[in-house]
Symmetry: C2
Subunit: 355 residues, 2 copies
């Protein structure tokens, strides 16, 4: 895919949209989900560094690196809740995949869209192991940027067709209903979270408030439910009442990170949780034959998922031409002659006939 | 400089070479040096994270983030000694500058060339405070990719005109002599490090071996010398005999990092060293009125220097047009409508007349 050592394929926002549409949103999420699950299943291979965060009054900028020993990846991601009020995205991201053997980047991509897809794919991958088998209806509380991706991920991976939507802003719900029209799903706008939850076997919370919120209270959570908590993902930002956590079997991506960022920051540090890879590999139970079991996926997003997304992107990108080659790596004929490369670059253009 | 929120200016290798030539190598280094020193002087403003390293058998990939509270920057850099044997650079790098207030990247650049320039600028900035006042001749031991940049930095900032060059590979020295011809300096190829050091008031070591090496032995270091040790920059990689360290006043960028990566990894963790910013702000002495004093700048490269380099680049880039706009950030009309943006992107191209 890379004709020259110095060129790095770059997937712009525009090319990402073209690629997602060409592959199909559901196919893309389903393909990505297989990479996410495959990488969770080889959990021990990964270099798991906590994310490197730079906090400010307005938000956070984070670097999320990981490596499986052959390939290295990192994501740059910001979180600035005030951005939405200024016409910017709350979260934007880009990422890089590199060859561990040479240290050379092999792919760079926008990851705002890709993160939305991988978050939804991860939710659905988790639900495949945790949701009740007969689930046909999911409530989505919080109908912002993540909502439609969640709906199509659960359609693609679990066959869910009915979605009960609620947002404190009815315009967000209307947007979601509009976007999902023609996607082969049934949407039901609901005036309250209580109403949305009624009759759903899965509840997804994907709200964006930074403050400690209580999107779900204990009385709203019936026996047998699977809760997919996507919105709480930084210190001080939670969505569920603590009592729900105490009644649930809790599943996380990487416990050390989730204890800081997830719903379980409300619980003592030794509260029992299960990492998703343990369920996938059979090392721990997920959904049991117990109609009363409440399962909770306390999702915060982990570096391996971005790594999986970049790996999938690289593979699905091949042959599409939907990338630009970035001249990002200096590549002198003689590696020790960086200075000479600069000097020689002048000759055709600036010295002209003097050559 | 950025007409649209979603576009990030990107400086390619080609544009970096054009920019450096347009500004002039010495001017570029001198300009960059002022930013490096200005940022060292406001040391307390910076968020100083140790670099985040991912080590493998063949090398290392590192992320080096920092922030001054208004601007955030990070550099991606690899170090793979074996690369040179395969026609690749041992070290390649790129970096990003972002606005802390929004988390949005505002500049992305190749940094292989920029790092070479900032390393040389930092060496010369340090020497301005540490080298003997009357220095006119510098030995450069190790004539690889960094050598010419060091020479021109010391010419630009300290007026050094004579350079005594040595490398275990005479071809590297010949390349260096060739590249420096016409740059207003005198170069003297030397057959040994001993010969190179003779008559020099400053000695720069810039070799690339990963192993613990002894480029300078104790008997080669005379009274009054300033040593600029650039090559030793990772665990296990040093260039100077331990006895030299014990006779020198040692100056470092950021002690916690240098204790791990620098020459001083050979010394006990409590050995007294001075951070460069302390000298610049007058909090500690640099070169004293003492003809016997041996000063050593144990340089490993710190994140603030890359930050300074990116800041300088952004300012010097303005108006040159020497960048491409990368469509890197998703920018929907409605921030919550990421999915709708993807759907709508299809219309002009794929639905055509159906609009």
């Amino acid at each position: 895919m890379i004709p020259n050592l110095n060129l790095v394929p770059f997937v712009s926002v525009d090319n990402m949209m073209k690629l997602v549409l060409r592959v199909g949103v559901e196919n893309f999420i389903a393909g990505l989900a297989e990479y996410v699950e495959a990488d969770f299943r080889r959990w021990a291979c990964f270099d798991k560094t906590p994310r490197v965060a730079s906090h400010s009054a307005e938000g956070v900028i984070e670097l999320m690196p990981t490596s499986d020993g052959r390939t290295y990846g990192f994501k740059y991601v910001n979180g600035h809740p005030k951005n939405a009020r200024e016409g910017r995205q709350t979260v934007t991201a880009f990422g890089v995949l590199s060859d561990v053997g040479t240290g050379y980047p092999v792919l760079m991509s926008e990851m705002t869209i890709l993160t939305a897809l991988r978050t939804a794919a991860t939710s659905a991958v988790a639900a495949r192991h945790l949701a009740p088998r007969d689930a046909g209806c999911m409530a989505i509380i919080g109908n912002g940027a993540q909502a439609e991706f969640q709906a199509l991920a659960f359609k693609a991976l679990l066959g869910i067709r009915r979605f009960r939507l609620h947002d404190i802003d009815p315009a967000a719900t209307a947007k979601c209903v509009r976007n999902l029209a023609g996607q082969g799903v049934e949407t039901v706008p609901c005036r309250s979270a209580e109403e949305a939850v009624a009759g759903a076997q899965i509840v997804t919370t994907a709200t964006a408030d930074k403050q400690r919120a209580t999107i779900l209270t204990d009385n709203m959570v019936g026996a047998g439910l699977h809760i997919n908590a996507v919105g709480g993902d930084c210190p001080g930002k939670t969505e569920l009442h603590r009592d729900i956590l105490l009644r649930s079997d809790i599943f996380v991506e990487y416990a050390p990170q989730t204890r800081i960022e997830g719903e379980i920051q409300q619980l003592p540090a030794d509260h029992q949780v299960t990492e998703l890879w343990q369920v996938m590999t059979g090392a721990a139970a997920g959904r049991r034959r117990d109609a009363q079991q409440i399962t909770l996926f306390d999702s915060v997003g982990f570096a391996t998922e971005d790594f999986s997304a970049l790996r999938y992107l690289r593979d699905v990108l091949a042959g599409t031409g939907l990338y630009q080659d970035l001249d990002m790596l200096a590549d002198p004929d003689e590696p020790r002659d960086l200075f000479g490369m600069i000097l020689r670059s002048a000759r055709p253009a600036e010295l002209g006939a003097a050559m």
